[in-house]
Every structure is written in structure tokens, then in C-alpha cells.
């Protein structure tokens, strides 16, 4: 019996979809059978990041309304033999096309066939959010280290704590910029965890390669040499229950030269 994990944030643009794609990929790389469900009906993205958008025939709404079987709508990722699947969202409906009961049934039907079901949640706290969390057993909150994102994450955690079927949520802090941490411009990792008071499951550094990878339609997690990829793979291992220490982010503020310049007060 698999686990359904919803990936949510409240605020848009903090990296829910990127995180879903990369965690799904990382778990599949570790040999787990994974299905990604995009619940962002009307504004789907997960298919693009996974590079699967040309293969969509049926979608989530077709499945819940019985127009097709689940396996007909699932898109198999070409990188794996039989490990990674995507259930895409329709682009031409809106969030009210699905209700919570339908999602609950869909996910409980799918759970026996997969190790992990990752549910990519839309931004906001309306019907789309309700649908996404309806069938979940666990939740991962994605936030960046900015006050607006943290505030929205706080709101979402409050809503999730009311759902008794979901375990206490875990936190991913995304797009940490090492050099800003040192300049006290940003809330740091401790600041965020102290504010939200939930368990931290991973920290993802900010890296331009993520955007490059998204444009290449291949999640960054396939690249074994990238630090973002490594961070996602570590989170995947933590989801499996391994204890993996957090890798420190940032290191030196701006490199050796700037440090010398600073020493001589040259700018």
C-alpha cells in the first residue's frame, strides 16, 4: 500500500511543481514506483516540466468522470521502464470540475499499485487546494525564505492541521541564496523553521540550472552533479526513512577575492 503525499505552499511560484517533478524523479531513481498527480486544473505545468505534454490523451477529469480508465490517462515517463507515471490535469476545465470525494476515491484506488503518489497542489486555499489534500496521507510544504511565502505557508499549515487524515506536515525551504544569508537580508533557515515550527525535511539551494532544466523539459534530478539535484535526492531518501544530514548551503559569502577586497575596504 502506497503513501499519498501532497505538495503544497499556499503562495504561487515558490516551486511546488518543480519540487513535485524532482521528488517524483528522485524516488523513481531510488527504485520506487511513483505516480505524480497534477491537480492544478486549468493551469497545468507538471507535464511541461516532466517533458510529457505532447503525450496527454486523457486527464484527471476524464478519469474521475469515468470517461476512461485510470491506466489510459496515465503517462509513463520514458526514462524508466515502469516506475514513474503522470496523471495530468485538464487545461480546459476549472477547479470545480472535481470534488473532494472523487479525489479521495481516485487516490485510494491508486494506492495499492504505487509506493508513492505525489499530488501537486495549485496555489491558493480554494477548491483546488481542498481537492489536492482530500486524499493525502502526508503533506510537504514548500516555501522560500521570504516573508510573504512564509506567511502563506503558515496559513496552509494551519489548514492542514485541521485535517485529521494528514500527518503533521514537513517543510522544504526552496531557493536559498547563500550570499543573502550572510548579509542578513533574508530570513534564514532557522528563522523560517522557528516561525513555522514544523519539521524540516530539506533545503534546496537557488540555482539557474533549474530553469535551464525546466526549459529542456527534463527535471534537474536526472543530473547527478548538480547541488539542487543532490538536495532533492536527499529529500527523497529522507522520505524513505533514511537519515541524511542537511548539506550546508552558501559557504563563503562571495568568494575569496571579494573577501580580500572587503578586508582592504575596496568595492
Amino acid at each position: 500500500m502506497g503513501e499519498a503525499i501532497v505538495i503544497t505552499s499556499g503562495k504561487g511560484g515558490v516551486g511546488k511543481t518543480t519540487t513535485s517533478a524532482n521528488l517524483g524523479t528522485s524516488l523513481a531513481l531510488l527504485g520506487k514506483k511513483v505516480c505524480l498527480i497534477d491537480t492544478d486544473i486549468g493551469l497545468r505545468n507538471l507535464d511541461v516540466i516532466m517533458g510529457l505534454e505532447n503525450r496527454i490523451i486523457y486527464d484527471l477529469v476524464d478519469v474521475v468522470e469515468g470517461r476512461c480508465k485510470i491506466h489510459q490517462a496515465l503517462i509513463k515517463d520514458k526514462h524508466f521502464e515502469d516506475l514513474l507515471y503522470l496523471l495530468p490535469a485538464p487545461q480546459n476545465s476549472d477547479k470545480s470540475a472535481v470534488n473532494e470525494e472523487q479525489m479521495r476515491k481516485l487516490i485510494s484506488d491508486m494506492k495499492p499499485d504505487y509506493d508513492y503518489i505525489l499530488i501537486d497542489c495549485p496555489a491558493g486555499i480554494e477548491q483546488g487546494f481542498r481537492n489536492a489534500i482530500a486524499g493525502a496521507d502526508k503533506a510537504i510544504i514548500v516555501t522560500t525564505a521570504e516573508r510573504p511565502a512564509v506567511r502563506d505557508a503558515d496559513r496552509i499549515i494551519g489548514l492542514l492541521e485541521k485535517e485529521e487524515h494528514i500527518e503533521p506536515p514537513q517543510l522544504i525551504i526552496n531557493r536559498i541564496r547563500g550570499h543573502l544569508l550572510h548579509e542578513d537580508e533574508e530570513m534564514d533557515i532557522d528563522g523560517v523553521t522557528d516561525f513555522l515550527k514544523i519539521d524540516l525535511i530539506g533545503v534546496i539551494p537557488d540555482d539557474d540550472q533549474v530553469i535551464v532544466a525546466a526549459n529542456k523539459k527534463e527535471p534537474i534530478a536526472y543530473n547527478p552533479d548538480n547541488r539542487v539535484s543532490l538536495a532533492y535526492r536527499n529529500i527523497a531518501r529522507r522520505i524513505l526513512g533514511e537519515s541524511v544530514p542537511l548539506t550546508p548551503i552558501g559557504g563563503e559569502p562571495k568568494g575569496f577575492i571579494s573577501k580580500i577586497k572587503k578586508f582592504f575596504s575596496v568595492r
Binding site: R151, D152, D154, R155, I157, G158, L159, E161, F195, K197
Partner: protein
């Protein structure tokens, strides 16, 4: 049988005015009749006498609103008398529950997050934070063992004596009874440790170190025993 007639209504003078003791074992109609007789048989008031306040003690008898009105009506027939207060030994279940709720400390271990409103009828002891956009509301005092970064509203039913105390005071707003205190635009990074807020006589909300509470709200000390 007792020869003396049982006195169902007794009039007593105290330094606060007249007190009417109504017996609680006779029937209500009997009581009303006797009350009427007692009041009219007594002294006839003069036109320019000052009006006299009367306290009515109903003993262990439970009176509903209608019956209370009736008694008041009878007393008010005497032009110079008016009912100041009705005292009873009886407390209804609802009153008792409300009284208990308003006087007990509710302890909660929780983070009050953005968008959440947490309300208790009495005092609140929160072990956890109130995050920005979160709100706690209490009929009595609010004690927070954690960081207060949202809104705290003490004495929201109008209790001016209510206070707010927090381990770390960084509130967005403090409210006591009907008054609101807005925060400064900027706090120091760690806020202010161990502070309390109370309302002074001019209805201003004052924020000060915890030590002053002992002076302004001595009633908070419910500790018994010890040294």
C-alpha cells in the same frame, strides 16, 4: 399547629437600605399575597419623601424572569420603593457553567497560525506562538508562553481589568476590552521579553515589564500557601 402565623415576608433595615427576605418554602401566590399585604399595611409615604431602594432576597427559591417581574411590580406599586437588586442563593445550570467558564484558565499547546482565531471564555494560557495574522481572544486574561506576533484581545466581553502577558511581545495589535493598541512599525529582532499589557484609568493600553503587574493587578495572585 403553630399558633403564630408563619412569616413569609420579612422586612429588615440595613445600612444599605431595606432588605426584603422572601421565604422560599411557601407557594409563590401565597408569597405575592403576603407581600402585598405587608407593604400596604405599613407606613404611608408622604408626597415628598425620597424614594427608597429595596434589596430582595429570595432565598433558595428559583424565580424565572416572569416571576421576578411580578415581585417587582408589587413592590413598585408603592410609589416610593424601587427594587435595587434581587439576590438569590439559586444559580441555574447555565449561569453556573458560564461562571465556571469565565473563571477558569484554558491551557492550550498550539501554534495559532495565520488566519486562525482562537477564543476562550475565561483566561487563556497558550503554550506556543501566535503568528502574524493569527488571533487569540479571551474573556479574561491572556498569558502566552511563546512569541506573540499576531493579535491578542483580552477581556473581549468588556473586562477592563484583563491583561495580556507574553514571553516575547511582538504583537501586531493588542486589544483590551474595547481599546486597540497598534504596534510600532518596527520591532527589534528579538522583540521584548516578558512584557505585559494592561489598561490604565484613562483607558489607554500600557505595555510594561511584567513586574508592574503585581502593583496594578494584585488580584492576579491567586496563590495560596507557600511562604
Amino acid at each position: 399547629m403553630n399558633k403564630r402565623i408563619q412569616q413569609n415576608v420579612m422586612i429588615k433595615g440595613t445600612k444599605d437600605g431595606f432588605m426584603l427576605h422572601l421565604d422560599d418554602s411557601c407557594s409563590f401566590s401565597e408569597l405575592l399575597k403576603e407581600l402585598e399585604v405587608k407593604l400596604s399595611a405599613n407606613y404611608q409615604f408622604q408626597e415628598n419623601d425620597p424614594s427608597i431602594s429595596v434589596k430582595v432576597h429570595t432565598g433558595n427559591r428559583y424565580l424565572d424572569e416572569k416571576q421576578k417581574e411580578k415581585i417587582k411590580e408589587v413592590i413598585h406599586k408603592k410609589k416610593k420603593l424601587f427594587v435595587d437588586e434581587m439576590i438569590s442563593n439559586v444559580l441555574t445550570r447555565d449561569e453556573a457553567k458560564r461562571w465556571k467558564d469565565e473563571n477558569q484558565v484554558t491551557t492550550v499547546t498550539k501554534v495559532i497560525r495565520s488566519g486562525q482565531v482562537f477564543e476562550v471564555p475565561g483566561d487563556l494560557l497558550l503554550i506556543g506562538d501566535v503568528n502574524p495574522d493569527g488571533m487569540v481572544r479571551a474573556g479574561g486574561n491572556i498569558y502566552i508562553m511563546g512569541q506573540l506576533k499576531g493579535i491578542a484581545h483580552a477581556g473581549y466581553k468588556g473586562n477592563h481589568e484583563a491583561i495580556i502577558a507574553a514571553s516575547v511581545m511582538k504583537p501586531a495589535q493588542l486589544r483590551i476590552a474595547g481599546q486597540v493598541n497598534l504596534s510600532p512599525d518596527q520591532y527589534t529582532k528579538w522583540g521584548h521579553d516578558l512584557e505585559c499589557a494592561y489598561m490604565d484609568e484613562e483607558e489607554n493600553i500600557i505595555i510594561e515589564k511584567l513586574q508592574v503587574l503585581k502593583k496594578y493587578r494584585p488580584n492576579l495572585n491567586r496563590l495560596e500557601g507557600g511562604l
